[in-house]
Amino acid sequence: GAGVSQSPRYKVAKRGQDVALRCDPISGHVSLFWYQQALGQGPEFLTYFQNEAQLDKSGLPSDRFFAERPEGSVSTLKIQRTQQEDSAVYLCASSTTGLASNEQFFGPGTRLTVL
C-alpha cells in the first residue's frame, strides 16, 4: 500500500505570502502528526490529530500556523504571512492509533523556503 504522501515537495514563498501544505496519511491511520525540521536539526512537534480532532497544538510556533483535518483523513497545514524563520522542512506522520508504542510513518516532507 501507499505510504504517507505530502505535496508540494518544494515550495518557495515570498515573505508575507500564505502557504498551504498537504498531507495524505496511510489509509485507515487514526493519528496524524506535523513536525517542523530546521536545517541540520531534529524534527520538532507542531500538532497532533486523532481522526478529525486536533488534540494537541502546543508546538505551533505562532497564531500564523493553523492545521486542520476536517474528515479525519487528509490534513492541511497553513501558514499565514510567512516569515523567513518559517523556512524548514515540514514533515507529516501517521500511525494506526495514538499509542506511544506505535510506529509513526513519515512522509517525504515539504521543503518551504521563504525569501
Partner: protein
C-alpha cells in the same frame, strides 16, 4: 519536559565494521518508549528499532541492536557489519504520552567503502 541529546553530530565507519551511536534522555516518567529513526538523504524517515522502557532486554533487529540503560537514561544504537546503505542521519526519539515524538539533534553517519 522531556529532552533527548545526541552528542555526536557526525560519525564515520568503514564498511563491514561496527559503530555505536549515543543517545541520552531526560524524563521523570517510568513508562515510555524509545526509538531510533533513520533519515537517508532522500529525507523519508523510517523506523530502525524501538525499545519499551519496562523491558530490560535490549531490542535487536538484524544488524541493529540497542544498549538500553534505564538508570543512566542512555539508549545507544549499535550497527554491526555496516553497509553503504546505512549512510544517513540517525535520530533518537522518545514517546510516553502517545502523541508527539521528542527527537534528538541527530547523528550523521557516513559508511566508507
Amino acid at each position: 519536559a522531556q529532552t533527548v541529546t545526541q552528542s555526536q553530530p557526525e560519525m564515520s565507519v568503514q564498511e563491514a565494521e561496527t559503530v555505536t551511536l549515543s543517545c541520552t534522555y531526560d524524563t521523570s516518567e517510568n513508562n515510555y518508549y524509545l526509538f531510533w529513526y533513520k533519515q537517508p538523504p532522500s529525507r523519508q524517515m523510517i523506523l530502525v528499532i524501538r525499545q519499551e522502557a519496562y523491558k530490560q532486554q535490549n531490542a535487536t533487529e538484524n544488524r541493529f541492536s540497542v544498549n538500553f540503560q534505564k538508570a543512566a537514561k542512555s539508549f545507544s544504537l549499535k550497527i554491526s557489519d555496516s553497509q553503504l546503505g546505512d549512510t544517513a542521519m540517525y535520530f533518537c526519539a522518545y514517546n510516553n504520552a502517545g502523541n508527539m515524538l521528542t527527537f534528538g539533534g541527530g547523528t550523521r553517519l557516513m559508511v566508507k567503502p
